[in-house]
Assembly symmetry: D2
Homo-oligomer: 350 residues x 4
């Protein structure tokens, strides 16, 4: 129980390190009879791959997903679905210099403190490469959600100092930042170019929306739908904040502003983000996450070595400027996983 | 599995409705040999009770905790600790008028959608009274944490439009808003008075800090310490956002600003909020939550009845202006529960 | 997580000691809209109470169940159902002499070894009185199963040296041993009378059958229906063996004898006990458990005190001659709990 | 949650079908710093492979285990250990004839009833090949137990009509039946030869013992050590009964015979099988399981096809005469997994 499992009914367990033999996930609890094949998984995995100027990662992984079990003649069988992606382009030697130095902002120090041993190659288990398993599982979850016509939209609402000002869903995939505002996307590109020259990195904000959610998903008290979303999203390495609906904005609102009035045609506003008392109300679910800047920067930083001697470090090698936009599909995957789990939980008591 | 259990090793299950026979919690997994008695629990429960001008709740509950099992001769025995608080001052008749009307901002609509039945008296299971069980369990968790010298501080950093500007820990309990800034507390009082006249309500922000945390608590991937804190805190009814350390602020920071440099004496800054890669780094843990305004307001609101006919509602009866400061001890309880659970998890693999 | 919870979807948590304030259970995951009231629970609890010559227990507990939450206007609401029975006739002083002496066959020694502390009054948590919570929960489970027309039969197939030779379901409740063979029941009474004179106790075998089980309940691999039944029944204090269908008898059968041939009208024999590869096949589920003799006997036994000095003990006070027939309803309750849990699990993936 | 996970702290998830791409297991919760490599796992896996006259299985699998994650420089890291064995000699065509016929004694009918789809090739997920994952995980569990000097012995006590009469631990690996009685082993061989000629199969009984168990393992009420052992062992496909210590024999014993007297040097007898009130007492743990005859026999049997038409079936191809002795190491693996899980649980509360 090292914490690598997620979900109560649609339960996934991920495994793998950045520079080990591969990365994978076992999905236990997928309903039978869902159309499934490697192309469905690959399509979602490909959205996680680097591309565009923001992702300067030079690691070239085809990230080809293999389904090892649980699918028969193109359909899920109800038994565990094991999916694996081999690591091929793992250049461990590039990391040799950091075997005994803790990188600021990374988990090097804390893994060592916890376990007394760590696979330091590329960050080992704490690498963002761990999210391959999440995305593969998210693709399977998505196939279940599609039977209910549930649709997920994920887009970038801020990158560095640039914030979006409009929301045009159709342009999200027309710019490399997955921004629903082309003008903002253009300003983001300027900021990325400048930051790259400085050897620094950027954070941002990602919004995830889910449409056509039936009312009634989510459980009272601890397993509220928003609580499980908060855990799911905060469990992504770079995420430092999660808010639902009007989120932190509600702190300075009055009750009369924040309450969503109800009409026979539904809720008249959506400050709640589609969740009331932890249960979906049928409105669009809206969640935003704060993404911290990539900690690997080429600017020199103070740190210590494994003997606690002071030293300095400049991170070399291949690194993105921001976890955005590659993190976006990971957020979507986690939303999928939470929704499908609560969908099954609700079916159980019907 | 209606979602009323929390924790993997220090596992609690809460039960009870606002106007039922009582509210309670069963704690399964508390280590043996911890000094425990009803006074320890009562002390923390009393901090949840109404008091001061902000809490106009007229419900008078002594909220007396009874330990029903798991404690023998003043010590925990390792077996389940059952704690119960009887409901005494439940005036259900006051709610008769809302049996068939969905209150905006409450769970009336969603519980009905989920279950097809709901105990509408005082909100039933969705009432904030549910947190009595959390706080009682949090008091037991606290007794375990004290053996490790772990210390929790919880204070209000914003109420309505007022934000704190200083942090003086010693004054937190010297004002009714649990504010570490007496000047801000004074301005909060002004705002509360005005809002009360308007029949409206206020939201705010609460910060929870934990000191003397050993490095190594938290698990990789899904059960990260911050992920579990996010779930724990977001599961509190009024909470709509959670952030760790610099939280949403990191979205506009550069990596060179956000990374906490490491020295032989520890981390030089604490943007991480004491958690790196989901594992405690030994620094102070810092979490903030956004608290939405109390949805029960005396201003008239649009809604529908259970037949989906449009209607209007004015909430009468006893209601607080803000969930703050009564929610503060609930946040503290959830922090306690997450920390003790991860403390036991770490002990298991040592 | 002291092990007091059972079930994945219909999850129960029991609490309480023999001589504490009470005994109870919280049921989390009961579907909404099930008719429920205290009389339904009391009826099953009453079957657990002492009666007849075999149960010489002089403890007089009315064992009155109170529903504290989760039921509204005679129906379950989907939220946790808390049920409590107060301890009234707890004569702790009778146990004072054994505070520092380990009774052979009881958990005194092992609880002390595990926790370093134990509530020795009446066996504390290890008392058979713990089963009150199981039976109360079993009554709620039964109400769910009745909607599916599932029917449970439990009867005694052996007591001491007497074994049943016929199966006449109608006479089970016409003799105090819950025997489906009146002649055997008569011989059991003779044996009980003799053993009582000797100050000794008896074991036996109980069979539990379930009819009208839909095919498809149970999960592959670890959570097989028979595996969960084995755990459920072996978790009852006095049970030392569990077998399904022809059980230990299959060890000396040939495959050609043991395999149940299939016809268009169903299985032609039922050596499998209604479970194939861990999944119900629609046939009657048949399970038998071995019940050890009550360890509390008035014959002198060798033991040690808490300082590990040799001593001798004669158990005085009120004790039954056999756990049968009071244990029978406990077995039934555990069967109910396993079946309802798997029923909900199956609904989740449909 | 199709039931393919086992354990609370040392949690394993298995995956794979008989004729899919492979079989595997993910272990989440193994403590860090345990020496581990593929040879350790292979050694235990090899004991599961066919050999000797009883195992006429002609399937030739090298069953080579690959560790894919969680081990670094020869030690466990605390993160998930993924182990995979590729399927190489899967002759699916041999099974084509049974795609639409339910084999008696197998899970064909029940899987179809449960899921509406099944991977019928070689039994798919219900194949005994599924135990590869259990044994691989059991080898890792064993490495943890060895640090505590815990030792497991597994031997055959009955095969068909032959029962052992002596217990000489040293000869267990000197005969192909893993029998602690060479004379019985010789008679078993005679019986196997006769049964093979008849095209039939045999059941038997396996005993698993564990030495050097610290007192205090196991939890009160549901997660008793014997309850978890019963589940673990009953979850093995061919097992139809489980008994602890004197097991079903206790049903006809008197309390004065069955109670184990205690002396300053320990328990004087061991009818309890080393477990009192669900918690280990420091004595040897003794468990026996009833193994049903292999259902695949070449004798003709009545059955139905997938359209519920009556038909007859003779199972051709490669099949063992008995699950014994190949099942013995699977029983040992399950014992290992239960013990290591409870060892970690006990460490958590110390």
């Amino acid at each position: 129980m090292s914490g690598s499992s997620f979900g109560k009914l649609f339960q996934i367990t991920t495994w793998g390190e950045s520079h080990g033999k591969g990365i994978g996930v076992v999905i236990d609890g997928c309903p039978p009879g869902i159309e499934m094949n490697e192309a469905i998984i690959q399509k979602m995995l490909d959205r996680r791959r680097p591309g565009g100027s923001i992702t300067s990662t030079s690691r070239k992984e085809s990230d080809t997903a293999k389904i090892l079990s649980g699918v028969f003649e193109g359909q899920t069988t109800g038994t565990p679905i094991s999916i694996m992606v081999e690591n091929k382009d793992a250049k461990s030697k590039a990391y040799n210099s950091i075997a005994n130095t803790y990188r600021p902002g990374h988990g090097d120090f804390t893994y060592q403190a916890k376990y007394g041993i760590r696979d330091w190659r590329g960050g080992g288990r704490s690498s963002a490469r761990e999210t391959v398993g999440r995305v593969a599982a998210g693709a399977v979850a998505n196939a279940v959600l599609q039977k209910e016509n549930i649709e997920i939209i994920v887009h970038t609402t801020a990158l560095g100092s640039v914030k979006v000002e409009t929301f045009d869903q159709h342009v999200v995939y027309e710019n490399m930042f997955l921004c629903a505002d082309m003008l903002a996307a253009s300003r983001m590109e300027d900021e990325v170019n400048q930051v790259r020259q400085e050897g620094d990195s950027l954070g941002g904000i990602v919004e995830i929306r889910a449409k056509n959610i039936p009312p009634g998903l989510g459980e009272p008290v601890f397993d509220k739908l928003d609580a499980d979303l908060a855990k799911a999203l905060m469990s992504i390495g770079a995420v430092k904040g999660v808010e639902i609906g009007s989120g932190f904005g509600t702190a300075s609102m009055r009750g009369s502003q924040n309450n969503d009035p109800i009409s026979p045609d539904g809720f008249l506003t959506n400050n709640s983000g589609g969740i009331l008392a932890g249960i979906s109300n049928g409105d669009e679910i809206i969640v935003r996450v704060a993404v911290k800047p990539i900690p690997s920067i080429s600017i020199e930083q103070k740190t210590v070595d494994s003997e606690n001697n002071p030293t300095r470090i400049k991170i070399k090698g291949r690194h993105d400027i921001s976890a955005i936009p590659r993190i976006n599909v990971v957020c979507e995957a986690m939303m999928n996983l939470v929704l499908v789990d609560h969908l099954l939980r609700q079916q159980a008591i019907k």
